[in-house]
């Protein structure tokens, strides 16, 4: 085997491989929230993987348990050859700065009492960055400019900024530690539509410039299509379908994915989609339906759907779908 081949397998190994991630919250009195059940996916180096689904489908919990802001119930997360979930809290501290998170709410994600400089300084401390004042000041200026702000903004307080600018500050804080992997949890959902586009452009720009690897969480499929190389569709804590963006958008195989795409505003009118609108609300994760969790809202559900949990089956180049009727419905 040639050296080049060995190198290429190395390059192809995903930065993060999540297997069987399960997160349950015990509410006491025998009530258990099944927030995520048996979720597996890869995040290749330098790629943006989108995680979509309605509110309550477990997207945030997935992101939070990956960087261990909550302790996962079970599963593994191989990050650069190490299982993050098996690290002791002390060992995890060493990995913290390699994994960062951007939050949905631009207002509560920045401490209102700290200046922008102090916020970024905290991250530079975590990075072990040079303590010298001049070096710090210059680095903070660079980071602010990198996210489209100005160096002078460092002395201001968060409330002096708009929502979009605050998200940029959140990015500057995350980038300050030069992370290998970023979880972006609906970073534009709370922003005005016009501002959304600017922040999305920034993310794309940063990704290309810095080669970032990112898990991009959103409930908006159009946003994910613009940004992501691969997409994972979640519903009630389980993966319904996943695959390369192009394949998944042009040929969605799961009834849930189709429904999501049908309700999303379609940027391309030549693309025809059957209009299936989702009826009702997402069921309680305390008592998820038996078999396929989507069956209670699925227009194509049959009796067999209640009997067995559909496994993820390959349906094309990298595309996988968890539906026992995907052949008939294709």
């Amino acid at each position: 085997m040639s050296l080049a081949a060995a190198e290429s397998t190395q390059a192809c190994a995903p930065l993060l491989r999540v297997e069987g991630l399960t997160q349950r919250f015990n509410l006491g009195g025998g009530r258990v929230v099944h927030a995520i059940e048996d979720v597996s996916f890869d995040v290749p180096r330098g790629a943006i993987v989108g995680l979509v689904g309605e509110s309550g489908s477990g997207k945030t919990t997935t992101g939070r348990s990956l960087i261990r802001l909550v302790e996962p119930t079970s599963g593994t997360a191989m990050f650069d050859g190490v299982d993050l979930f098996s690290l002791s809290p002390r060992e995890m501290r060493q990995y913290r700065r390699r994994l960062q998170i951007i939050f949905q709410d631009p207002y509560s994600s920045l401490n209102p009492r700290l200046t922008v400089a102090a916020i970024i300084n905290e991250a530079l401390d975590a990075r072990g960055f040079d303590k010298a004042r001049a070096a710090r000041k210059q680095r903070i200026g660079e980071l602010l400019e990198m996210v489209g702000l100005r160096a002078e903004h460092a002395q201001r307080y968060p409330h002096e900024f708009s929502g979009g600018q605050r998200q940029r500050i959140g990015f500057a804080r995350a980038l300050a530690v030069e992370p290998d992997f970023i979880v972006a949890d609906e970073p534009v959902s709370a922003l005005d539509v016009s501002v959304q586009a600017q922040v999305l452009n920034l993310i794309r720009d940063l990704q290309q410039r810095l080669g970032l690897t990112m898990l991009f969480i959103s409930h908006d499929l159009a946003v994910v299509e613009y940004l992501c190389d691969e997409v994972i569709v979640m519903y009630l804590g389980r993966i319904m379908e996943k695959g390369p963006s192009q394949a998944l958008y042009s040929n969605p195989r799961h009834p849930y994915t189709r429904a999501l795409l049908a309700t999303a505003p379609v940027p391309d009118p030549t693309r025809k989609r059957e209009r299936v609108l989702l009826k009702g609300d997402i069921p309680s994760p305390i008592n998820p339906p038996s078999g396929c969790v989507f069956r209670t809202r699925c227009p194509h559900a049959i009796e067999a759907c209640a009997a067995t949990l559909p496994p993820l089956e390959a349906v094309g180049a990298g595309q996988q779908v968890a539906c026992i009727r995907h052949h008939e419905l294709a």
């Binding site: 939070r64 802001l69 939050f103 209102p112 700290l114 968060p158 002096e160």
Partner: protein
């Protein structure tokens, strides 16, 4: 008050004192407090008589030219004593605020941030709050011995649980906020998170409570002295002056009236400032948390 404004220096609170001055009620409160404070500090230079100077010939004199606020049963000048008394009363009030804040912040932060400590600490806080303030204070002073320092310790313990509750309630909310999670994600050590991210954002409700505790402590010190379980009656505080003047209420009401008035003015001013701070800080809090 400058200590207060700088300790709370943060986004919306820069210029808190300035904004307090722009409201007539809190401006009046601040002005009165400033006068009382300056008088207490400058007491040795501005009082017409030495506070302990006896003059049996002039005992129980009504307010007049020689003694603006009259004299007490030993012929001591009430105005001079009252100004000196302010020193100890204000010191006791302030020390109680500091001590109860130290205890209250520690208890509240620990109970609010660490789920495992919440139940036992909350029990303790509730148990302490079940006693009426003044009874607990009397019991503590009785156990420790009557002195100014022990009054401070007793009142500091009595008021700590209220602050602990305020701090705990805010900590429970702040602990879940994304900026705390962001700090955790950076691997910031927990003690730093507690101080930099939690405590700093509890500062405003703490400040408001602090002014009310200041006022209560001055009243409670007077009450303890009045009941004879506080500071030694020879030491002038507003409380001991009232306590001594009580016997001459019919003949010489001014002995009680003026120190009583000083207490009322101080407490009222503190309440006005506290109310002002609460109004100025609350909308911001609601928005941030």
């Amino acid at each position: 008050m400058s200590a207060i404004s700088s300790s709370a220096a943060g986004s919306g609170e820069r210029g808190l004192v300035r904004r307090l001055f722009s409201r007539p009620t809190s401006a009046a409160g601040l002005a009165v407090l400033a006068i009382i404070l300056i008088a207490a500090v400058l007491a040795p230079w501005i009082t017409p008589y030495a506070p302990g100077k006896l003059s049996i010939a002039h005992r129980l004199q009504a307010p007049g030219i020689a003694h603006l606020f009259g004299t007490d049963d030993f012929g001591r000048d009430v105005l001079s004593r009252m100004i000196f008394a302010g020193r100890l009363s204000l010191t006791v009030g302030f020390s109680v605020v500091v001590l109860s804040s130290l205890i209250g912040v520690l208890l509240g932060l620990l109970a609010g941030y660490f789920r495992k400590l919440d139940r036992p600490l909350s029990r303790l806080i509730d148990a302490m709050m079940a006693f009426p303030d003044i009874l607990l204070a009397i019991a503590l002073v009785a156990a420790l011995g009557a002195s100014a320092a022990n009054v401070v310790i007793a009142l500091g313990i009595v008021y700590a649980p209220r602050l602990a509750r305020v701090v705990r309630a805010s900590t429970l909310v702040i602990r879940e906020l994304p900026y705390v999670e962001a700090a955790k994600a950076l691997g910031v050590p927990t003690p730093v998170i507690l101080v930099r991210h939690v405590l700093r954002n509890v500062a405003s409700p703490l400040l408001v409570q602090g002014t009310f505790i200041f006022a209560n402590a001055i009243l409670a010190e007077a009450g303890l002295s009045f009941l004879g379980v506080g500071v030694s009656p020879d030491v002038p505080t507003w409380g001991t002056m009232i306590s001594l003047g009580r016997q001459y209420l019919d003949q010489a009401p001014w002995i009680m009236f003026f120190p009583g008035g000083a207490i009322v003015l101080t407490v009222l001013s503190l309440q006005l400032v506290g109310d002002g701070m609460r109004d100025l800080l609350d909308p911001r809090l609601a928005k941030d948390i």
